[in-house]
């Protein structure tokens, strides 16, 4: 029972991370294409300035919870996905540093360099998170001792790449809507048009992923066993259409929330299909790391549950307050810091 609760929490934490950092990664990924000049790019970065750091902590928490609640799965997952994970980490390091350093020196060369890092540090993690999760959905070649029997390239299979493309599109769409909600004038209308244009490839990728999942993974087994779960992918589809409708009506915040719901539902769609596996083995189901064979002791799970149920609501309250504090548009001149 405890294991099941923690499995759900584990999935929710990843979903929240993608919901929040998704727009940062999306904005970073479109920086060189969408930001036509220095002003545009500055404005794009200001739109995520107050939030990216707090958003990234959800990743740390998701990682920490994997470690604390399912140390067995954490150990195997992270060592099996060694290369992609380290590449993601390097990407995030450069993104974070670029965000803080780019405005420290006023020279075009300096800014250009950090903008390039910001772009790479956003687009690479966005794609690789998709690749990693798609590979987890379809199973990874781990043997009975938890040793990975593949290479980095074997992770870049068609299903993995489709997962990467889907994540990137989800985040781009999400980021464009965030900009549309935050910016004003020409940048805002352009962001709105971009979100509308991205919606078509995003929907195609989502449909392709849902269909391919049927053939490439065993995720649907759980859905056939418990039909109530179909509500999750149904919510993803409904939210995706809602996002398009709100975009057409220029209701940017509503559109952004709908896009966020799409991301959450997509993540939970995969997580619900995985249960009870955290990391299925493609070699032999007996080697899979599950919520039951890799969990911590009941005592640790109980203590952690107490901590999570007290602290996470508090975190949500003060993060919501911080979003509220910075909710105004970018041009009110109040963001005078450094």
């Amino acid at each position: 029972m405890l294991e099941t609760i923690w499995f759900i929490l584990w999935g929710v934490l990843w979903a929240v991370y993608f919901l929040l950092d998704g727009f940062d990664l999306g904005i970073g990924s479109m920086l060189p294409f969408f930001g036509k000049n220095q002003d545009d790019r500055g404005e794009m970065i200001r739109a995520m300035g107050p939030h990216w750091d707090g958003n990234e902590v959800w990743l740390i928490t998701a990682g920490g919870v994997t470690f604390a609640a399912f140390p067995g799965a954490y150990a195997v997952m992270f060592s099996a996905l060694y290369s992609p994970l380290l590449i993601i980490l390097f990407g995030l390091i450069f993104r974070g540093v670029a965000m803080e350093f780019r405005h420290q020196i006023h020279s075009p060369g300096w800014r250009g360099m950090w903008d390039a890092f910001l772009f790479l540090g956003s687009v690479i993690p966005a794609v690789l998170f998709g690749v990693a999760f798609a590979n987890i959905f379809q199973g990874i070649a781990i043997d009975g001792a938890g040793v990975y029997r593949g290479t980095l390239l074997s992770l870049l299979n068609p299903y993995g790449l489709l997962g990467g493309a889907l994540f990137l599109l989800l985040f781009l769409h999400h980021g464009a809507l965030w900009l549309a909600a935050k910016a004003r004038g020409e940048l805002q209308s352009r962001a709105g048009r971009t979100a509308a244009a991205l919606w078509i490839p995003l929907t195609l990728a989502a449909v392709a992923f849902l269909v391919y999942t049927w053939f490439a993974t065993k995720l649907y087994d759980n859905y056939l066993g418990a039909p109530v779960l179909w509500l999750i992918p149904a919510a993803a589809v409904a939210a995706l259409f809602a996002a398009r409708i709100f975009t057409a009506g220029k209701a940017w915040w509503k559109a952004w929330f709908a896009s966020g719901l799409t991301i959450v539902a997509c993540t939970l769609f995969g997580v619900a299909g995985l249960f009870p596996n955290l990391l299925p083995s493609s070699l032999d189901p007996a080697f899979s790391m599950t919520a039951f064979n890799s969990a911590s002791s009941p005592l640790t799970l109980k203590i952690m549950l107490g901590v999570a149920l007290t602290m996470v609501p508090i975190v949500i309250v003060y993060q919501a307050w911080s979003y509220h504090l910075f909710k105004d548009h970018l041009h009110d001149g109040k963001n005078a810091g450094y």
Binding site: I93, S296, I303, S322, L325
Partner: protein
């Protein structure tokens, strides 16, 4: 071996930035509180000026911390599996209790000058300071568990939590936390004193920087006294829980009662003795370790060679660290004594500027004593370091190690370049950046 190097590089690099975050956040909070209480705009300028240096440093501390958390899984998977029940939960608690708070409020602080009342804004930096230091507490509890595992049972082939409170409140964790935080405060105090000294010498902003100098000197003096006194206490805990480490720190080979402390000592690990032993104080080592001149201090020869830490690095690092501690105490006491007209002592001011890097060195030396002194154990007495690594191909680790060193060197150089650049520019640098460029 490669994983060990990689982890050492990642931790040391992380630890190069974190102490300044821990201490400077508190100093910023003090400066801003002075502003709120007195209404003196100088304190606001100082808060903003040191705040800018703080932020540059903060970014690197954060991103290098993420890497560390994930390295347990990528490079130390066997270890993670073995101790995740305890160690993993401490890291997760750190993230939810402290790190969220710190990361969210730091952004509120530096972008929120015009959005919050004076008092609320000062309260925000206190939250950041508190959260950073809470964060350090949880991390050091986790580290102390590796040094002195308590509150667990061996079950299912791994260490499982038996008593959470015992893990969190064990004395070893408390003294380590106090020692590390006091060291971080001293480092930050010297940083602020050094930067202030530079500007006092330059005269343009002399009255302004005398204020930060006095604040920092008082702050540092309190914590350097505490640090030296408490460092002694810390040694007592090492004596109790990690006798092999203590023996290596003192290059003490033969178990004896009434063990002397030598002022001059050159170890000769190959022949399991010391080449030179001179100027002894009889019984003083026993006294320092156990508050009893007749206490027995275990020698290295009592441990099988495979259970001994490398003597040379631990011994040298410990002596150098202790020496630096006393040096900081002396310089700080002098600076505090002369604080009222410190501009009349240019030599002292120059010395303080030159001293800025030394607390960094002392922190790294302290880290060396703690972590190298723990070897060959990963978890003291439970798991050897060699048994903790991941089954990942050596080539992958090598490539990532090289990448880490390259990236970290680049970031380290840039970080210190920017900090020095802005530190030298002084408060004029603040108006240089138009408000619009805040990001």
């Amino acid at each position: 071996m490669l994983s060990r190097l990689q982890f050492a590089a990642a931790t040391m690099f992380h630890f190069l930035f974190v102490p300044l975050t821990l201490g400077l956040s508190v100093l910023l909070a003090i400066l801003e509180s002075c502003y709120v209480r007195t209404g003196d705009e100088d304190y606001k300028t100082l808060t903003k000026f040191f705040g800018k240096l703080f932020l540059i440093n903060f970014a690197i501390g954060v991103v290098t911390g993420i890497t560390l958390e994930f390295q347990f899984g990528t490079n130390w998977s066997r270890y993670s599996q073995y101790v995740g029940d305890i160690f993993g939960s401490l890291l997760a608690v750190e993230a939810t209790v402290a790190f969220f708070l710190e990361s969210t409020f730091i952004a509120v602080w530096y972008l929120g000058w015009n959005r919050l009342s004076k008092r609320a804004h000062a309260a925000v930096i206190w939250v950041v300071a508190l959260a950073s230091n809470m964060s350090a507490f949880w991390i050091l509890v986790a580290n102390s568990w590796m040094q002195n595992p308590v509150g667990f049972v061996m079950r299912n082939g791994r260490a499982e939590m038996a008593d959470f409170l015992a893990v969190v409140t064990q004395p070893y964790a408390i003294v380590t936390f106090l020692h590390t935080v006091a060291a971080a405060f001293v480092l930050s105090g010297f940083f602020v004193m050094g930067v202030s000294a530079y500007h006092i010498l330059k005269t343009a902003h002399r009255p302004l920087f005398k204020k930060s100098f006095v604040t920092a000197a008082s702050f540092t003096l309190v914590f350097v006294i505490f640090l030296v006194a408490q460092g002694h206490e810390h040694g007592g805990h090492v004596y109790k829980y990690q006798p092999a480490k203590l023996a290596a720190m003192e290059s003490h080979w033969v178990t004896e009662k009434n063990a002397p402390q030598y002022f001059i000592l050159i170890p000769d690990p190959k022949n399991e003795r010391n080449k030179v032993e001179a100027l002894p104080i009889p019984g003083f080592l026993s006294f320092l370790a156990a508050h009893d001149f007749n206490a027995e201090v275990k020698g290295l020869k009592d441990f099988p060679p495979e259970d001994r830490p490398p003597v040379m690095p631990v011994f040298v690092a410990f002596r150098a660290m202790a020496f630096l501690g006393f040096l900081f105490l002396g310089v700080c006491a002098l600076a505090w004594w002369k604080r009222a007209n410190i501009e009349k002592y240019p030599l002292l001011l120059r010395g303080i500027i030159a001293l800025i890097p030394l607390p960094y060195l002392a922190c790294l030396l302290g880290w060396t004593v703690t972590e190298v002194g723990r070897q060959p154990w990963l978890v003291y007495g439970l798991m050897r370091t060699a048994d903790g690594v991941s089954p990942v191909p050596a080539a992958n680790v090598l490539v990532s190690l090289i990448a880490f060193i390259a990236v970290y060197t680049l970031l380290g150089v840039l970080n210190f370049y920017l900090i020095i650049k802005f530190a030298k520019q002084g408060p004029d640098a603040l108006s240089g950046a138009p408000a619009k460029e805040a990001a």
